[in-house]
């Protein structure tokens, strides 16, 4: 099947022709398969956020193409607007974009802009609210009376209610406590399963991306530095550290174990680590 998103030789330059000119993306190319969970990592200013805003047509590429379902999203005005709805984008700290009088109406903002019928909007709002764990009563309160974590969920539901085929999230768990993080990540995974959607998530938590994603993109200095499965990416641990990025805690432990002479292969999730240690125990009685 054709990839849902294709990015071809993308370049983007901010404030072109002024003294503040800055190239944020250099010749970036990759494609995204349907149903994939893609992680994007890279340190601050590496072009991650710019890249995400290209994918739903918020920023126009200086050169290069973005194909959604094989069609260039900038070839036609209608396609550009469609891209906004088919590719949902949740910004960093999305709770600061809430504005309506009730949670219900805020979540309904996106679907309403799509021009849907009232009963369809109602269905989507309730479904999205349920998907992120909001209660019926909470739908009728002002979003400003909610706690930070709940506001974040309302904002994410606001994008999920548009039922995008590709859901892009920029650090959805930033500033949340561990329980809140786990819950939000669970809701995202559930959305992917129930809607057969494609997820792209920017994260600084290597443990999260190692556990959740099928594939990783590594951005460095406006370039796409690596593109591969978490296993492939995290075996290049030294390069990642050089870029100022981290590797999952378990990977670090196992790399050190290997250095100490134990016959282990690098792992990147806790489950794999447990398995590897069990194998080691079975094969070598001394351990």
């Amino acid at each position: 099947m054709e990839p849902i998103l294709q990015v071809q030789n993308l370049n983007y330059i901010y404030s072109q022709g002024t003294p503040f000119e800055h190239q944020a993306l250099k010749d970036v190319s990759f494609s995204v398969e349907r149903g994939e969970f893609l992680g994007i990592i890279g340190h601050t200013g590496s072009g991650k956020s710019t890249l995400m805003q290209q994918l739903n047509g918020l920023l126009k590429p200086t050169s290069g193409k973005i194909l959604l379902d094989g069609k260039d999203i900038w070839s036609d005005k209608k396609l550009t607007r469609q891209a906004r709805f088919r590719v949902g984008l949740v910004f960093q700290y999305p709770e600061y974009q809430l504005f309506e009088e009730t949670v219900y109406r805020d979540i309904a903002f996106g679907p309403k802009n799509m021009g849907l019928k009232d009963d369809e909007i109602d269905r989507r709002v309730r479904e999205a609210a349920f998907a992120v764990g909001l209660t019926q009563e909470q739908l009728q309160v002002s979003p400003f009376d909610l706690s930070g974590g709940q506001k974040r969920r309302v904002a994410i539901a606001g994008v999920m209610a548009m039922e995008p085929e590709v859901l892009i999230l920029d650090e959805p768990t930033a500033g949340l406590d561990p329980a809140g993080r786990a819950e939000i990540l669970g809701h995202i995974e559930n959305y992917r399963r129930s809607h057969n959607a494609t997820i792209m998530m920017v994260s600084h938590s290597m443990d999260d991306v190692a556990r959740l994603t099928d594939r990783l993109l590594v951005m460095n200095g406006s370039n796409l530095a690596m593109d591969g499965t978490p296993a492939e990416v995290f075996t290049r641990a030294e390069e990642l550290l050089e870029m100022g990025l981290n590797i999952p805690e378990v990977t670090r432990v196992f790399l050190n174990l290997k250095k100490m002479g134990l016959p282990v292969e690098p792992v990147y999730t806790i489950d794999q680590a447990v398995q590897a240690l069990k194998n080691l125990r079975g094969g070598d009685a001394e351990c």
């Binding site: 404030s15 999305p94 974009q97 504005f99 903002f109």
Partner: protein, 268 residues
């Protein structure tokens, strides 16, 4: 984009004008404005223009950025020009049709009005482009010092101004971010009637106001935590002091205003 707004921006530089005491620059701006309103003829405007161009040249501010800063004011300029052109009484009629009469006097008055506004704004830009907001408010506070005798909270006023200036770029950035976020949810700011466009602003203004209040609150708390107390008994790390070039600048100012006055007395 919103980021391209240059109104009141500070361009760091190393020219004599950058290094002048902010009080000197403020006083010179007042002198310049008074002289501009005293000028009545081609000759005196010419003198003023030479002074302005020389000052811009010395400041090494690219003239392009001054011109760019004028863009938002085109409407006011055109409006002023047209009003003066059509509603000034005069004797020498140039064009007359229907209810519109354009006289030579009106033409020259409209022209001078536009030139006056342009020069007024360029002079103000020169001040804000060469003076950082902090030293500008410092200068204002020092100049308004005597008003303390009247129990006017001078320090607090200048502190408020300083904070307001500081937050302009922050709020512009914030607006940009909120706009992108709402666009991602399908908000449309460009099409529709005037009413639709006004309504489309609500999703931007509400979050913007909330974040502005939040920031103000955080800043107030941070200042209180450091036991900030304005006004009496507060000392400064950088004291303002007039130097030789400040006195020289004042000299230029006196010459300028004297020249315009003399020209005026000759009816020029």
């Amino acid at each position: 984009m919103l980021k391209d707004i240059t109104l009141g921006q500070y361009f760091p530089g190393n020219s004599v004008i950058h290094h002048l005491d902010p009080r000197t620059k403020l006083i010179m701006l007042v002198v310049y404005i008074v002289a501009l309103f005293l000028a009545v003829s081609w000759v005196s405007y010419g003198v003023m223009l030479i002074f302005l161009l020389a000052a811009i040249k010395i400041s090494a501010i690219p003239p392009k950025s001054i011109v760019r800063g004028m863009k938002p004011l085109v409407f006011i300029l055109v409006f002023t020009g047209i009003l003066n052109l059509f509603f000034t009484q005069g004797e020498t009629v140039l064009v007359q049709f229907w209810v519109i009469t354009i006289t030579l006097e009106a033409l020259s008055r409209a022209f001078f009005m536009v030139i006056r506004i342009l020069m007024l704004i360029s002079g103000t830009f020169l001040l804000t482009y060469t003076t950082s907001p902090i030293s500008l408010t410092d200068g204002l506070e020092s100049l308004m010092g005597p008003l303390k005798k009247l129990h006017l909270p001078v320090h607090e006023l200048s502190m408020m101004m300083c904070i307001a200036l500081r937050f302009i770029p922050t709020l512009i950035e914030e607006t940009d971010k909120i706009m992108s976020a709402q666009k991602a949810r399908g908000a449309d700011f460009e099409s529709g009637s005037l009413m639709d466009k006004a309504k489309a602003l609500i999703p931007i203004l509400v979050p913007l106001f909330i974040s502005a209040f939040r920031r103000a609150d955080e800043l107030a708390t941070a200042m209180e935590c450091r036991c900030y107390q304005g006004g009496d008994g507060r000392t400064k790390m950088k004291l303002l002091r007039y130097r030789l070039w400040d006195y020289q600048t004042f000299g230029v100012g006196i010459v300028l205003i004297a020249a315009v006055c003399v020209l005026r007395s000759f009816g020029l």
